[in-house]
């Protein structure tokens, strides 16, 4: 959370929502995805589940990832005929963290929830860019 201050704002650039990498912005991320899910025609149940999955990914990016030079992470939404896709990207280089006992259980839990609540998950891991992609298939 270094680099993210209280007077930061979220910024929208084309289809990307750039959020300060701080937990106080999670609600904004959820509202944003809710709106897109509604536009995509997902029902209340599916929408809530998909928003949940994206929240987990954004939470991970904030907790374990690294913000960009301006203290932000990005959410890109792609709405297509048969799918709604959200890419959550941070500037960290993903590596298996050495975590204290118990922490693994929590990460495992978060991941189990993410995979239960999205139709598809993809991970793109590169130096300086970690992207979690979540997909909801549209009816």
């Amino acid at each position: 959370m270094q680099g993210a201050t209280l007077d930061m704002t979220a910024v929208q650039v084309d289809g990307d929502l750039l959020l300060p990498a701080h937990s106080s912005w999670l609600q904004t991320a959820r509202r944003h995805v809710e709106q897109v899910a509604q536009r995509a025609g997902l029902d209340a149940q599916r929408s809530a589940r998909f928003v949940y999955a994206v929240n987990e990914a954004v939470t991970n990016a904030i907790r374990h990832g690294k913000p960009d030079g301006e203290g932000r992470i990005s959410l890109r939404t792609v709405l297509e005929e048969s799918s709604l896709t959200v890419h959550v990207q941070d500037s960290g280089s993903f590596s298996m963290p050495s975590t204290p006992p118990g922490q693994d259980a929590e990460s495992g839990r978060g991941f189990a929830l993410m995979s239960s609540f999205a139709d598809e998950i993809r991970l793109d891991l590169r130096p300086g860019a970690t992207t979690v992609t979540l997909v909801a298939c549209l009816p």
Binding site: S23, L26, R30, A48, T59, G102, A105, R109, G110, L113
Partner: protein
């Protein structure tokens, strides 16, 4: 800012702590939740009810807080945590149908049950579960 709020935080007969919350319990809110629960444990309470009737969202960090509480209780000689999460919620006079967007219950069904946390439909049921657990 998170929309999380505490509705009430009481200790009732049998030295049971009942914390009722509302809103969205995410990474921003879970430290406050942890503080509340652990202050009860520090005060010697071994039975804790978390009433999530008015909670509309809860994430894995919050579930992690509950797991941490269960662990701490075990280390302190025993105790239990019960969560109230009705299958049907009435919020602002709108009835949420069973199977509707009750994400909180779904989260517990995916993770909470193996965390040693009892999932209950009402406060009465929660208090009953805690009494049974001893």
């Amino acid at each position: 800012m998170s929309s999380f709020y505490v509705i009430s935080d009481d200790t009732v007969e049998g030295d049971v702590a009942i914390i009722a919350m509302g809103g969205e319990v995410d990474l921003d809110a879970s430290p406050a939740l942890r503080e509340r629960i652990f202050s009860h444990i520090k005060a010697g309470r071994r039975r804790i009810v978390l009433d999530l009737t008015d909670v509309t969202f809860i994430d894995s960090t919050a579930v992690g807080v509950l797991v941490g509480a269960v662990t701490r209780l075990r280390e302190s000689g025993g105790g239990s945590v019960a969560v109230v999460c009705p299958e049907q919620r009435e919020a602002l006079s709108v009835v949420v149908p069973a199977g509707g967007a009750n994400i909180v219950r779904q989260v517990f069904e995916v993770t909470g049950l193996d965390a040693g946390v009892a999932l209950c439909g009402s406060r009465e049921q929660a208090l009953h579960e805690l009494a049974l657990a001893g």
